[in-house]
Amino acid sequence: MIVRVRDLVKRYGDILALDHLSFSIEEGEIFGLLGPNGSGKTTAINCILSLLKYDKGEIEIFGQPMRPDAYDIKRNIGIVMQNVAVYNELTVYQNIDYFCGLYVKDKNTRKKLVDEAVEFTGLGEYIRFYPKKLSGGLLRRLNIACGIAHKPKLIILDEPTVAVDPQSRNRILEGILELNRHGATIIYTSHYMDEVERICSRIMIIDRGREIATGTSDELKAMISLGEKITVESYSITEAQISAIRELHGITSVEYKDNKLIIKSEKGTNNLETVLDFIRKENIHFGRIYSEMPTLNDVFLEITGKELRD
């Protein structure tokens, strides 16, 4: 067990930021903490890192209780903060070297590690640049390099792709998978469900500091009653036709809004062919028609009654 969090409670005055949160992370996992902004992801991370006081609960890392002076534990943790945490007065190389130097004393070893971090994050061309000269994506990569240069066993990435262009985002996500392949256990927080779904081996969805559900992406989707979702773009559907679709076998709900007909099916049923037959028979004109399987947003919506991106 790499991380074990039990019954964690954190209050900010009257606000309950973490409500008896418990989870554990096995070695080699990419554990995703998914939730909307303000759901308690960063608070949980700061508690795990012993930066924040908490009101109740226990936190163990590598089987040992986590404390501010647990230097042996800290030595094996890498953190990539939500806010870019680098010195504007140091170059890219100097920033990585400085933070790596807080973990690794030997100068030669450090040089090797810094060079590897530079190569890993693709910052080779920018090592003499000051952070202010870097784009948002490069800055995020520098932030990652500063957090992982010392080759930690546990890497915590707190929303590392916020305000990042798609190219840099892809590179960051690929990098995380590679770090994991090299043996690092990862905690990844995000409110982007596609990212979490793409890289995380296990996901915990949290809202208002509480655990909503935990499992693999498929396990989470299996928890809800919703199955396939069919969307038909059309300008000319009557109320009678909508009612008729609602009567088809395996359909749970039909909604017509903004010229889009959204048909939701029961879990395990496939209604695309049935819907297409109906449209042909009724001679309904349509633009596009497509079918989607449930997403993590649907999971969140069904459990909490609100969108994940609220």
């Binding site: 700061n46 501010p68 943790i77 903060m81």
Partner: protein
């Protein structure tokens, strides 16, 4: 670890243009402006000979004593008068045209003609009165007891000024120094800017960089100590540059006790740094707000220490003297003053002891605040 943190901290601070401007370039620029503005202040205190005239009439030509006396006080570099011997009409004309401050008519008694009152006119009158008293006393002695005339003449010749303007250390009195000393005190307190930054970079609830440092496997206070040593080293170096500029370029006189002047500057620099750290630690706001608070307090201290006007200092001395002892800028200014003016060290040691006390208080409070390792909120 010490060398790693120390060396990088030096790089970080030396590249922080804003801090370097306020802690080094701003005092240098201000010192240059002070020098330009105050360089003539000393010369205005030098005495300039007063332009007078004496009417060249028959009585004047016959009054050998008056001629001799006027000739004596109108000779040499330290002369009292620039004397013109002219006709009565010419003297009137010169007075009307402000070419002279007054003229003397050798009548009995001596007549002094001026067209306005002022310092120069008072000096001419004082001279005329003094001359008349001496002549009158001499005539009385000659009339009543001529045997005592020799004693009287001796007393006139031996006139001594019993008050002399000297400092106890032998240094030349110089009113301009006060401004430069308070400027140096201000520069020392500007070390507070570095102190503010130092705290911001170690408090995880203030900056993300500090949070990263707090997560690293190093003792937070050790990191702070190493980092602070780099900060203080830089600020002391800046103060030495300023001091060298004041002494060697602007020729500001700091007296002969150079080692103690350096020591005072170093203590002042540490006081400034610890003051900034203290302000930063107790103020739970953004770094900009902390800098604003520090700047306001520092400038208020310098104002009360007489940096803008020496009168302020005297008003405080008269009405609230205790305030002078709780004002770090004033303690520093007075310490430099006492080194320049006094041979004794009582005043200097008092000020340095109080200043050291402040450093201890500032450091203790800062330590008590930053020693915590977990935060209530980030």
């Amino acid at each position: 670890m010490f060398i790693h943190v120390f060396a990088y901290r030096m790089k970080i601070l030396l590249h922080h243009r804003e801090t370097i401007f306020w802690t080094m370039f701003f005092p240098l620029i201000l010192a240059t402006f002070f020098n330009m503005a105050l360089s003539n202040l000393g010369s205005t205190e030098k005495f300039s000979p007063i332009d007078i005239a004496v009417v060249d009439n028959e009585q004047y030509r016959q009054n050998a004593n008056l001629r001799l006396t006027l000739a004596e006080v109108s000779e040499g570099d330290d002369r009292l008068f620039n004397l013109s011997v002219v006709s009565a009409e010419e003297a009137d004309k010169m007075l009307k045209n402000n070419k002279i401050d007054g003229y003397i008519v050798a009548e009995r008694p001596i007549k002094l003609v001026v067209n306005k009152s002022g310092l120069n006119q008072s000096i001419i009158k004082s001279f005329a009165d003094n001359y008349m008293h001496t002549v009158s006393a001499t005539e009385n002695i000659l009339a009543r007891d001529p045997s005592k005339i020799q004693n009287h003449i001796s007393s006139i010749e031996d006139r001594v000024n019993y008050i002399r303007d000297v400092s106890s250390s032998g240094a030349e009195p110089n009113t301009v120094l006060a401004y430069f000393y308070s400027l140096l005190a201000m520069a020392c307190l500007y070390g507070g800017f570095i102190g503010v930054r130092e705290i911001s970079d170690i408090q995880a609830d203030i900056s993300p960089v500090a949070a990263r440092v707090n997560i690293a496997p190093v003792h937070k206070l050790k990191t702070f100590l190493y980092s602070s040593m780099a900060s203080v080293t830089i600020h002391i170096a800046e103060m030495m540059i300023l001091l060298a500029y004041l002494i060697f370029v602007l020729k500001v006189d700091f007296g002969t006790k150079t080692a103690l002047v350096l020591l005072t500057t170093v203590i002042g620099s540490i006081a400034g740094f610890s003051f900034g750290s203290f302000i930063s630690a107790v103020t739970k706001k953004s770094e900009g707000f902390k800098v604003a608070v520090l700047l306001s307090i520092t400038m208020a201290c310098c104002f009360l220490a007489g940096m803008m006007s020496q009168d302020v200092k005297y008003i405080i001395l008269k009405n609230a003297p205790a305030l002078l002892y709780v004002n770090p800028a004033n303690l520093l200014t007075d310490a430099f003053f006492s080194l320049y003016y006094y041979d004794t060290y009582t005043k200097f040691l008092t000020n340095i002891t109080i200043l050291t006390g402040f450093i201890v208080v500032f450091c203790t409070v800062t330590y008590l605040i930053i020693r915590r390792r977990k935060y209530a909120s980030i």
